[in-house]
């Protein structure tokens, strides 16, 4: 996968300034878990609402004016327009401030930034989506993108896990995918509760049990760094080569466009050369820098 040319995306720059956010308004808030909420929002500017488009895998910088800016992947699919969705985990200054906002609040939006999931590479192949916790957010965008064009892809396996049943994100999506006969969904939790009937175990362990075939397949992994680090060796064991393993990474970001310097992994910047990478690209640095 090569570095995508991102110059053509300048068409969504507010007043031509790369740091100036557009104003978006929160439409709807969905409670996912005790600490995660999905915000549905739309551009205040009517014209932009119609024009705006993005591709799965890209992220945005959301601003709470006066508090700060933070990076969130866009977890809605570009095939389902009308609004944008970001899943936000309440962990710090900006995310706490976001959680205090209600419907109708105005925030800033800069984006879409970053590269995209390589849909052309994935077409005609069997897809194995592996997600952990809030890592399902970017995967959700690509999963709906794929399901909305189902006949272009082969077998689809989704393996998703969280710490506990309460921490499972997008429960309504999981319900919908488990009904979909063309998808094999396996959910697992680290520790179940008395009502839990699904699997128990860490995602990499469950992945090894399910053992999806590496033949004509592409694996797409997203989750906490420790999960990613343990998933790659399992995939290698199952016969996946580094070029067949795709992941989307997360690092502390500020500018989102490769200028402020902080999100680098080796010579690659997660915001500019990523966040979507193949394992082959980051293999040299992943164990040490991520």
């Amino acid at each position: 996968m090569s570095v995508t040319d991102i110059c053509h995306r300048k068409k969504f720059l507010a007043q031509g300034n790369i740091y100036l956010p557009h104003i978006v308004v929160i439409d709807k808030i969905v409670e996912e878990t005790p600490s995660v909420r999905t915000f549905h929002f739309n551009f205040k500017d009517e014209k932009l609402r119609k024009r705006f488009t993005f591709e799965s895998g890209q992220f945005a910088e959301l601003s709470i004016f006066g508090v700060g800016e933070a990076t969130f992947c866009i977890s809605s699919s570009p095939t389902r327009n009308g609004h944008l969705e970001c899943a936000i985990n309440r962990v710090g200054l900006v995310t706490n401030a976001l959680h205090r906002l209600g419907v109708g609040a105005e925030i800033g939006f800069r984006g879409p930034y970053g590269n995209t999931f390589p849909l052309e590479l994935m077409q005609g192949k069997n897809l194995v989506f592996i997600g952990g916790g809030i890592g399902l957010a970017p995967l959700r965008s690509i999963i709906w993108n794929v399901l909305d064009n189902r006949d272009k892809y082969g077998k689809i396996d989704i393996i998703y896990g969280a710490r506990s049943p309460a921490d499972l994100c997008f429960k309504y999506e999981l319900a919908s995918w488990s009904q979909d006969k063309s998808v094999n969904l396996v959910t697992t939790v680290d520790k179940g509760d008395k009502n839990w009937t699904g699997k128990e175990g860490f995602v990499p362990t469950v992945l090894e049990q399910i053992a999806p075939s590496a033949k004509n397949a592409v694996a797409i992994v997203c989750g906490p760094p420790i999960m990613i680090r343990f998933t790659f060796p399992v995939l290698e064991k199952l016969g996946f080569i580094p070029e067949q393993m795709i992941t989307t990474l997360e690092k502390r970001m500020k500018c989102g466009i490769g200028k402020c310097g902080r999100c680098n992994i080796g010579n690659l910047y997660v915001c500019r050369d990523g966040p979507v990478f193949t394992y082959a690209q980051i293999r040299n640095f992943i164990s040490d820098e991520y």
Binding site: I18, I23, G108, R252, C255, G261, S287, D288
Partner: protein, 344 residues
Amino acid sequence: MTTKKISKKDIGKLLEGWSRELTVFVPSKDKGVTEMAKWDGKDTGFLEWYRNTVIPAKSSFLPAMEKMFSFQKNNDGYHLELSPDQQKRIVFGIRPCDARAMVIIDKVFTDSYEDPYYVSKRKNTVLIGLSCTNPYDSCFCTSLGVKPAESADVDLMFTDIEDEFLIEEITDKGKELLAAASVVKKATKADDAKAKTEKAAVSAMVIRKLDIEDISEKLQACFTDKDYWEKVAAKCVSCGVCTLLCPTCYCFDICDELSKKQGTRYRSWDSCGFSIYTQMPMENPREAKWRRVRQKVCHKYEFYPMNSEVIACTGCGRCIRLCPVNWDITQILASVPAEQPAKK
């Protein structure tokens, strides 16, 4: 190219002429530290004491603190207002190392997306270089392809030839600026020859040397050598001096300031040496000091060249002069193992 010259005593007149239309920045001590500051209109004493400023010339283009935009919450929502800096300026006296540094970091601010604040400052500024006459013992510019008394990275280059400066017009911007200056005369062949000797003499005064051959490959080979990097990082105290005052370091932080319903978004200098630089909610990949030190060295001498074919260092020596514990990059780079360490 025809060269010109000016007598040192006429520098004041030259700057005065320019300052009628443009803001002139010169080396200054007024604030308590040497930096490029607005000329007070009369003092040219800096010609005597100036060796190099502590605050690098990048502060004229990427200031330590910069307003990005202001925001205001009205009844109908948020309004954002830009205040771009359109001041036309001259930076007089930039040294070749600092000028080269600007060219090196230009790539960051124009690549893929153009940074409006930096780029507009660069467009609206004329850089006038001044040759070194007295390099520090910590300077090592010559090892990085920078010559202390000559530069093609500026608009006009002033070379010190005793009582006068030889002036070379490097760009059209510089030529235009010089055109109206009446105190500037044509240089003679003797002046040219004098300048040539002077340039070579000053280059020879740079005694600190650094071998950068294959440095990128060498660093790649020892990237995972924890023991080596722990030893290298042992005495570093993780302050930000070397990075904040480095002319080729450009990392910045963005934050908001709020006062009732209005505020400003600022950007400010940041450093990969700080432990919170890569802090994430659940973990920090560079919590250990040796990882941060490795990042600084490898970013400048391995990653940056991998992305843009130029080492992000110009040998100005500030990091060596100002480091609280005398951590010396030239010593570190000389100690990088030549071969891959044996796998344990």
